[in-house]
Amino acid sequence: MSTELPESPPAPPEVSQDASSSAPSRRTFIATTAVGGAVVAGGLIAGPSVFGAEPAEAVDAPPSSRVSLTVNGERRTVTVDNRTSLLDLVREHLGLTGSKKGCNAGACGACTVLVDGRRVNSCLTLAVRLEGAEVITIEGLSKGERLHPLQQAFIDQDAFQCGYCTSGQIMSGVGCIDEGHTGSPEEIREFMSGNICRCGAYVKIVRAVEQAAHGN
């Protein structure tokens, strides 16, 4: 799954022309290319581009904006390509890789975070729209070494197998509990249905949400 920081294959100025042979790791590659809008222009010239139909316009750097928001209690000011999702912002700009990219289309819930206290799909949230927003990701849930009750409940109930959906499940569960939709296992299932678990750990996920909501 590609990020949109930038979307086209870039050739960042930090990397010299012969650097392609040095085979950077996926994460270094993404981290290097995600530094800012300035690197993008070179990339658009260098690589095959989705904007190939308009080469004359494509040499301009895509529009970017400056946005200030709070992530896990820390004030952050970043300049982002307008296309950047909140998910790509936290993962690729801020290094918070707990939030996962599953479908990148709002269909799986792996990217769930809290924005101003509400659970949302960060993959469908444009970072540029978050001026002044307060974002909580899975990394911001614990109090130091003390896990959030729902994190502890996921461990107690063994509510995961591969773990890829887990951070989204937990963030969504926190929202579900805050909203008060934990009256029954059926209600939890309905209000957690935006989080897909391909391992099928649903029974234990529901138990974990129940444990955190009702302390049993």
């Binding site: 307008n82 289309a105 709002g106 469908l124 249905s193």
Partner: protein
Amino acid sequence: MHPFSYTKAADTREALDAGRAGGRYIAGGTTLVDLMRETVERPHTLVDISALPLREITVTRRGGLRIGALVRMSQAAAHRGVRALFPVISQALELSASAQLRNMATIGGNIMQRTRCTYFRDVTAACNKREPGSGCAALHGVNRTHAILGTSDDCVATHPSDVAVAFTALEATVHLLGPDGERTVPFADFLLKPGSTPHREQALRRGELITAVEIPALPRPLKSGYLKVRDRQSYEFALTSAAVALHISGGVIHEAKVAAGGVGTVPWKLPAVERELIGRRPSDALWAKAAERAAEGARPLEHNGFKVELLKRTVERQLRVVGGGK
């Protein structure tokens, strides 16, 4: 995703100016951002309208409801007035999408959302809605989930909204604000059937904003509810659905408002079913007789013939749930 400029409108005037200049309004963004990523949507400018004062839900003097365009789906679903006056609206909302999406998506954006037809979303497929004149891959393609009512040779895509089905049943009006001022459009005229211009989906003029959806007052007591039938139990679009509101007094049905979803190119009002009900006494026999008329005019495609019978049964069951069985 193609690059775009971004501007946040501080007030309605700024929004209208940007809209008139060709900017695309964004509210919750759950459909638009998704489709931009698929390059189905390619706006050059996004106009963020989230700061506009359109977040109120008000109960009107006679017991109707006015829902601001920027009210989030989750807010509208949880609102006490909505739940008390029109359970069909809160149920339709809570059976839509996921909790996360309902926290993002707005009422105005919900009725603007675009079809889930897979050919529409696939930029390599023929689609008259996305690319006028390119043809319709669904017409003779994999069309199990497509429409059986209101279709044309150019488009058979369903409208995906649930709450729009409730709005259609209740005969809501859409409040609009444009460069030339305010106007209201009946919900039935707001969403357009495809005909030969499936790319035209709403009766919106250039730069117009949705400001609210208004539900007219109906005689009380009013019972209402929404039934959604789908391939999985939750977080899925409707195969068929039914929105029903009944005013029963003295053992006789005096008002009946019925519409169906998942079957039409627009939410499908069922006046023939309503006529069967009005002036009669609730009974299982009546529900069955009225529901028999639900699929009148249906034109099933190769893979969605099952929707004809499923629609009748969906309507019958929801009439019984709302009106009571005997």
